[in-house]
Symmetry: C3
Subunit: 143 residues, 3 copies
């Protein structure tokens, strides 16, 4: 069984956002798979996906703080400045975190750990809606 | 062919640990696949998986040194401090390295390069045992 | 349908190089898949693959600048120095960016976003040719 579907994530402010529920709700076919994989792919170069702590909002705030310090907007060495001060740092952050997640499916659901949630990492000040292409494949539960 | 199995990695001290042999030994079904993929997924948010140099222990020690400097425990900007000084840096390190690896299978084995080994990156001082969910799929050798 | 093929990328100087066209041209079988995945796997520990902005060469130059500052060659803390000053930083950079990409296939092509291109990230001064193992699987268009 194969399924491929675009999920459009609504615009969010710069920062790290928990989107697990939104993505799972858009993929009811997860329930049909006994075992399989879900591949989530962000079709952008200035936002990223990550898997991390799903409980405390202060964890997500600390992510933003650390990444802003590690990849500073006002560094004198950036040469690519055409698209705004937040653009080049956004590309670096997106590459560090990556634009996709491969998640195991077991018994009809994402087999995440208790504390794992899916983050949309929005690295632009006004990134707009983000297109996520989800691909699921695996062995149906009825086999 | 699909296989999904939990592998419990015994507790290890903070640092970067080579676990290739332990994982391969837990997946004898690798030998049955002519071509396929192995997905290794750590169900935690403060440890990670990476692929890197499998020979020199000093490479793994230098990994620990670099990551500890890049994500310092004593930074004044952390707000999430409830779970200990090593917790928030562990989350950042885990996101940078990622919680999963997708590895190609060819001719019944992981098709790694000569110098590539699987690292368990333990970012907590006392992370305890770590649950790794392995998923294999592919085309059996007998087809 | 499964396909696995080695693609040898010619030696490139240290830096970030756009290799989308080279990889797609080596995988004409992409056209046969209605939906699927492409897994690109670099069999090395001192080079990496990333997905990022495919238009401006200055973006790729800024990647090199940022990574060279984030993982400095002349740091006093490196203990693994046997293989040259560029070796240990190359291992760290490779782990940060990762040695593989999983890319969705839709309607016979890589379903990348408009601005996404595949980077070969060469972290050594003279890394030589790089071996990439490509694995494709999915549902043929003719089904």
């Amino acid at each position: 069984m194969w399924l491929q579907r675009e999920i459009v994530l609504r615009p969010r402010p710069r920062g790290f956002h928990l989107v697990t529920r939104e993505i799972v709700d858009a993929l009811p076919e997860l329930a049909e798979l006994r075992v399989g994989l879900a591949h989530l792919f962000l079709r952008h170069t200035s936002a990223s996906l990550a898997l991390n702590e799903n409980a405390s909002p202060d964890v997500r705030a600390d992510f933003e703080t650390w990444f802003d310090r590690a990849v500073p907007e006002d560094a004198i060495y950036w040469t690519h400045r055409l698209e705004g001060d937040d653009d080049m740092p956004a590309h670096i952050k997106a590459a560090l975190l990556g634009s996709s997640l491969s998640l195991p499916i077991g018994a009809g659901r994402l087999a995440l750990g208790t504390w794992q949630g899916i983050y949309l990492c929005e690295h632009r000040d006004a990134g707009g809606p983000r297109s996520l292409l989800a691909t699921l494949w695996g062995e149906p539960a009825s086999q």
